[in-house]
Symmetry: D2
Subunit: 309 residues, 4 copies
Amino acid sequence: MPFPAPLRGVVPPVLTPLTPTGRVDTASVRRLTEHLIGAGVHGLFLLGSSGEAAYLTDTQRLTALETAVDSAAGRVPVLAGVIETTTARVLDRAADAARAGADALVATAPFYARTHPVEIADHFRRVREGAGLPLLAYDIPVAVHTRLPRDVVLGLAADGTLAGLKDSSGDEGALRRLLIELRRHAPDFSVLTGSELTVDCALLAGVDGVVPGLGNVDARGYVRLYTAARSGDWAAAKAEQDRLAALFALTEAGDPALMGPGSAALGGFKAAAHLLGLIDCAATAAPQVPLDATAVARVRDLLTEAGLL
Amino acid sequence: MPFPAPLRGVVPPVLTPLTPTGRVDTASVRRLTEHLIGAGVHGLFLLGSSGEAAYLTDTQRLTALETAVDSAAGRVPVLAGVIETTTARVLDRAADAARAGADALVATAPFYARTHPVEIADHFRRVREGAGLPLLAYDIPVAVHTRLPRDVVLGLAADGTLAGLKDSSGDEGALRRLLIELRRHAPDFSVLTGSELTVDCALLAGVDGVVPGLGNVDARGYVRLYTAARSGDWAAAKAEQDRLAALFALTEAGDPALMGPGSAALGGFKAAAHLLGLIDCAATAAPQVPLDATAVARVRDLLTEAGLL
Amino acid sequence: MPFPAPLRGVVPPVLTPLTPTGRVDTASVRRLTEHLIGAGVHGLFLLGSSGEAAYLTDTQRLTALETAVDSAAGRVPVLAGVIETTTARVLDRAADAARAGADALVATAPFYARTHPVEIADHFRRVREGAGLPLLAYDIPVAVHTRLPRDVVLGLAADGTLAGLKDSSGDEGALRRLLIELRRHAPDFSVLTGSELTVDCALLAGVDGVVPGLGNVDARGYVRLYTAARSGDWAAAKAEQDRLAALFALTEAGDPALMGPGSAALGGFKAAAHLLGLIDCAATAAPQVPLDATAVARVRDLLTEAGLL
Amino acid sequence: MPFPAPLRGVVPPVLTPLTPTGRVDTASVRRLTEHLIGAGVHGLFLLGSSGEAAYLTDTQRLTALETAVDSAAGRVPVLAGVIETTTARVLDRAADAARAGADALVATAPFYARTHPVEIADHFRRVREGAGLPLLAYDIPVAVHTRLPRDVVLGLAADGTLAGLKDSSGDEGALRRLLIELRRHAPDFSVLTGSELTVDCALLAGVDGVVPGLGNVDARGYVRLYTAARSGDWAAAKAEQDRLAALFALTEAGDPALMGPGSAALGGFKAAAHLLGLIDCAATAAPQVPLDATAVARVRDLLTEAGLL
């Protein structure tokens, strides 16, 4: 199917379930993606931060992506993260993703390397040209340690290099100004927020959709939130968002003295998905620290409070 | 009058008009504050970042504050920024503010010094106890270079140290989670956002009010936005916010190769207020770089586009 | 006496002793400064970070400075920190310092405010012109959160605005490149390093002197280190520096879970000075967290290991 | 040959010469490495930041490494960077490096992912165990955006996980304290500084060697500097370092308005190596911006001033 222009709706960044020995658990990939599609999501984003892309080998990435594409079977578009330091490496991953059947790519600006806005723009142009698939830019400064400049995004939207933006900058003020410009000049450009705690706000501001890590745990909640917002029922959207924001505390169940925020967040998502029966095993990739029993009990309590257990 | 609990509405961070020779222009302070009150604002915040507090001597601060208190004449509460590096210095400024008749104080965490959350909490407790006025915490990491930890804010709200928070963190996700906790445990606590580009969103999320620098330029717009949101007309609120967000481009009229973002923003606000006749002179305090004629012309165009000229 | 051009040698950033109730302990200021001069230091720097300038009121700053100037009695030059957010405020402190009899001023770039290199240069020019005393720039990004650009320093050295630089950037590579340029073009310009763990290296690289917080605790050690380096005995200089670097562990005696790095460092310096009988009371200014008995015992052990007790 | 314990001396981070069409130029790899060995270097570090590792595909990395190993022919040890985001991916690159014949590996802490010190330590332990080659940690916060905590390095030195550290933190004070601890407890541990502007200082402080990007351009200079320091002739070492520090200006020949600091530095190194006849083509990998003719002329002038042309 042609990639939607713009892509709209709820597009969860799909977890990559692992077996206890650290292999990609393809059966759980299928069960999780089937569950998400059944919940009404509008697309799947594989190999993003919530998919532990940075922790997976190229082979593991390919396995997860191929399985998800096969499971989706054309019912919703599948976006593939191509998380690599620079252009030539991204193109290698893009070739893998194209072979696996992804419908679109999601790439960050270069990281580890220190680049100039001119180089960032050139990077996206080379990736788009070399990869031959619709391309979304992924603005995630907590990982990449630079911001995508507004002028770069606007330029790459205007010339068709980018089909969209996944904004995980957390900078809603900058996003607002970007949206005002984009709505005037690039109506087909898709803006998806990764800020899963303020989706009602982002939809009010004019984004097309959302990529919520927490959507792995409560996809129906995000679909309800999206639907309420689209129908103009902002009170319902806000109530749903408040419930989901309270549930988000599961990303802090792990003890911050014992693990990093990544381990806590990914561990929380996976523990919840496991408790809900969506995946077989809550293991995260090394060297992440697993949640202990106290933390898992806290996740369980939060699922209960949210009405999911 | 007693300080509102919670304080709600539009509380502009009032510019400090200066004469061409750099003195506080008290006549313009009176004209500007009279204009704001006439536009329907719900309070005045003197000596914040938009008030160039960091650039003013203690004497200049006192002059601006006394004049505004006298001008407000009890019609709306006057909040006074007490921007100093640490506790004892804040208390000196708090004594000035009390003498000038301020209704409440707004203080940041310590800056220049490197502090621990325990020290930040102790700082606010000492300021509250020593100053004898309602106290709001000012979370502005772009200036202070630390964030106010959520637990610190919740603790100081619970024990009555803080009457409220002015959130200029730009971190709307963290704010959402804070609001959920505060609404459960501290209903009288006032949360004011300083993120003037996403006020509709913040009000949907549950903040009590807004402290918009741009409110010096279009106070009526922010009052309309606030009123629309309060009445549940989110489409109107969004439209008003979009108009104001486009107008915010006046903070970037100055050439970033020639001046810092502070000079550009403050210069833009003051140029606009001057063009609108609200202040006599657009000068900013040294060593800020003044806008040139090209930049002022750009400000004028934006005011025209926004329907203000 | 005329201010040395360049100023050379060991210039400790003098602690500000406080009484148990938080007043400046002038008797201890006299005892400490007398001790330092007796140990052979080449100048005194009052009201820097080690002097807790950010924590002291204007009155406390003035008291400490006046006492030190009186105690020094012209035997060594007294430099005064004028730590304030921006130009006009620095000039108020500079007037205090001039009245107190300081021989030179030490000012940072603006902080809290966000400034451009052009504004930073203008700031120093205005301070130099307005204050009428020799001026050193203080590069301390851990507090100010910007770096002094090399071109700004070179320009202000060339035109005589700055008499010197106190470099606490910790960026020895940048310092090396600066020194090469300064030695060619500004031979009278004084470069003092605040990096007290690498003084042998900095002297080898060509700095004129050092401003070591640890010099409050072991001034004779730093004077020996300086003398060895000046005589070309680098092995002796290195051995002295290694001993002092081991002693520097006293800045980490406090528990980082209970206090910030500033409390630990200042608390360590003051506990050591107290144990050595140089000051009457180890109290630091609020809201800093005091060292507990365990931490003080650790400081005592380190003093013993270093041969000071 | 067994890997030296500790590794000492000059170990340049070898450039990866490219053809005009972006392929690894193996003939130039051979010529450059032969030149470096002839100049007396004590090891070669392939696939570091100066080797543009972040810009090269896995295939290109392998080609460059195999060629260098073959060229070195056991005369000096060859260290291979294994620059990847996390553990499993590093192990894939480590397998490549082992197959290519590298003598040791150089790995950073995880990047893109956000990790806790416990996870960083576990990462290095897993890499060491899985790879079966001596392992050096690479502390380069400008790329990785975290620092290696001192306690982590000391623990991994004590238990034999790490054979050494390549310190590109630029934090010479922290390095000094680390060296004092290491010299007491881990005498075989190799500390190499990547701070090429302060090598005399670092050798005085006690490091074992240096990994200078500029060593690609003037290897003989760094060997002279190292030899002078080892013989205790610190004046000669300082003079050599000053000459090299002046030459380092070639990393800023590119216009910072047109390119990032990486493009300027790598472009400067490669332009110089090309002008010296060490490599056939100065091209850097996309999306880096090439130096223009003005910048290349500036590089040429600096080479002339340094006595290399």
